[in-house]
Symmetry: C2
Subunit: 361 residues, 2 copies
């Protein structure tokens, strides 16, 4: 793995590759966006895809939380649905309503409408944004690239919109497993090129978001999600540290560790100690124990609490993870109605309190 020696703050990268650090690194999922007044101003002027596709705008938004909140990493401002779009689907992102894909995939015939694209043609704007962001960051903190997991992208591509249960997407997989696997493999192939392109453009690490992995039972998660994530991790992990965040899929944490991913995100519904056990146990069956880091797991709604409560609960979270092998984060994206000083209290408490953690894990 190439190592970026120009990073002034490399806490996150060092934690992922198993080095000891002086304190716990911290960032927040969806940190660039909807709760920041500076972002909301841009949202009033430009559509979502303008913000995504214009490298200057994407760069400005990506850097906002680094400057305003003081997080230890920037994450590219984009959306997981740029991949289905690049594959040939129409994607609308309607403010406050969520995504709409007006022509979802339902049949073999529908599959003919999409392809595995040349990402340098269809997603070059992302790579351009990354190059600009890296230049503007100038080594202050690492830049996180990302993509949606194939299963989560299939959910949107088949259901056509957000859903609590994605039962049409699940029904599609259970009724047409062959079609589902064809689609999942096409998404996987696109995603591998896309993440490699992000790393080549300068992303220091990457995260795979499986937001809907937790809708599947353990066996189905292996069948329809993890086998494809495994391909992606295998293809990119030698090039950059790789984090898997499969929300709710706690029962497969051991199998996710066994992919060789450097980091695993967990939500607030699993306790850190249990996550440590699950990742240690399953990987030891393959002969060696997992050396990666856990990422999470503060309840995003808890940032609505008064600041002293946030401080107390962040300390409890840090103690539960212990020093080392932990990246402080929320257990899901930050909510739009979180006051900026509450987000800052989360980050500041990690910075102030984590150097004092002493119990080793």
């Amino acid at each position: 793995m190439k190592r970026n020696k120009n990073l002034k703050n490399d806490l996150l990268v060092r934690t992922l590759i198993g080095e000891a650090t002086e304190r716990t690194p911290v960032w927040m999922m969806r940190q660039a966006g909807r709760y920041l007044p500076e972002y909301i101003k841009l949202r009033e002027k430009y559509s979502f895809f303008e913000r995504c596709q214009n490298p200057e705008l994407a760069c400005e938004i990506t850097l906002q939380p680094v400057d305003i909140i003081g997080v230890d990493a920037a994450i590219l401002f984009s959306d997981i649905l740029v991949v289905p779009q690049a594959m040939g689907m129409e994607v609308q992102l309607i403010e406050k309503q969520g995504p709409l894909l007006p022509q979802p995939i339902k049949t073999q015939q529908d599959l003919k409408r999409i392809q595995v694209p040349d990402v340098n043609d269809t997603l070059h704007y992302v790579f351009d944004a990354i190059k600009l962001i890296k230049q503007e960051l100038n080594g202050r903190v690492p830049l996180i690239g990302f993509a949606g997991a194939p299963w989560t992208l299939l959910c949107y591509m088949v259901q056509g919109k957000g859903s609590k249960t994605f039962d049409e997407a699940k029904g599609f997989c259970y009724q047409n497993p062959d079609l589902a696997h064809t689609l999942l493999q096409m998404i996987t192939d696109t995603t591998i090129s896309y993440l490699k392109g992000q790393i080549a453009a300068g992303a220091d690490l990457v995260q795979i978001f499986d937001s809907w992995g937790g809708l599947l039972g353990k066996k189905d998660f292996e069948t329809f999600s993890l086998q494809y994530i495994r391909q992606i991790v295998a293809a990119v992990k030698e090039e950059a540290p790789t984090i898997i965040f499969a929300k709710g899929a706690w029962s497969s944490l051991g199998e996710m560790a066994a992919t060789g991913a450097h980091g695993l995100g967990i939500d607030w519904c699993i306790e850190p100690q249990m996550a440590r056990q699950l990742t240690a146990t399953a990987s030891s069956s393959s002969g060696e124990s997992w050396k990666g880091a856990l990422q999470g797991n503060f309840d995003p709604a808890k940032l609505l609490s008064p600041i002293p409560v946030i401080q107390k609960e962040v300390k409890e979270m840090l103690q539960a993870f212990g020093p080392g092998r932990h990246i402080a984060n929320l257990g899901h994206g930050i909510l739009p109605n979180v006051p900026v000083d509450h987000a800052k209290a989360f980050v500041d408490t990690v910075k102030e309190y984590s150097p004092r953690l002493t119990v080793s894990v």
Copy 2:
């Protein structure tokens, strides 16, 4: 506990009180309703609350799946939101859109609009329905009564409508814990009277639905949900077998077992063996092991699969639970788009295959 000796099929009751049975009992959450053509016909003629509040209609709907699908229990046709309604809130149930409570609870002032009602005044129509259903069932199968858990009812009473994250409800609890606990205790007191009334009217067992328990981390689940469920279980468990179904709250299964509940529902995201471990371990710390039954956990979307796949997967589920201490069910409510013969294949497979299970658990 009084024992109803007039039940011709008492598989479910016997399983809950720890007796061995010749096969695994089976029913389906939301079995009375939206996937049945006979129900849809009634829905076209009568509003939701007409169907709930008219004992003849509620009785007819409750009995439909017993006659059509052949389940081992009837469950009262009603909705968890009749309790907030009885407490003084306006509740609208809009077909295909979900619930709307136009004046949600946000402040101390709002709390003054609700009260702990006399359930014999406000919910007598439920007790009337139960009496009629029991008469019409004539002992064929037991009748399940139910109520929402206080936490899940608070979610709707504060958020005012359905939500993926119920972040307004969670924010309310984190910002105003005293108000939240006042509200939760009022709901708890109402629910205890309501379930006792259901049992007095003839319900053979009761289930507490905590549909949104899985949105809370383990500590918050204890604080805002389980301590109230514990009060309810303590108040009714000597009168009738009691099942807790807190969807997604797998990490508190041990604590739920320790309430003395006779049954615990689980969803398809936890494996039966893990659920057995969690319920056995935690209760042994209190000196005795839990003797109750697990209920679940077939993925409702799997009923969209071809029938041979359903049969195969139901057999795998039955084997994973093993014979005894299991109530076959879905891991959540049946989906509206499930073909009736698929639902019947689920029930039939349990009936045919479970007597052949031999590995003891």
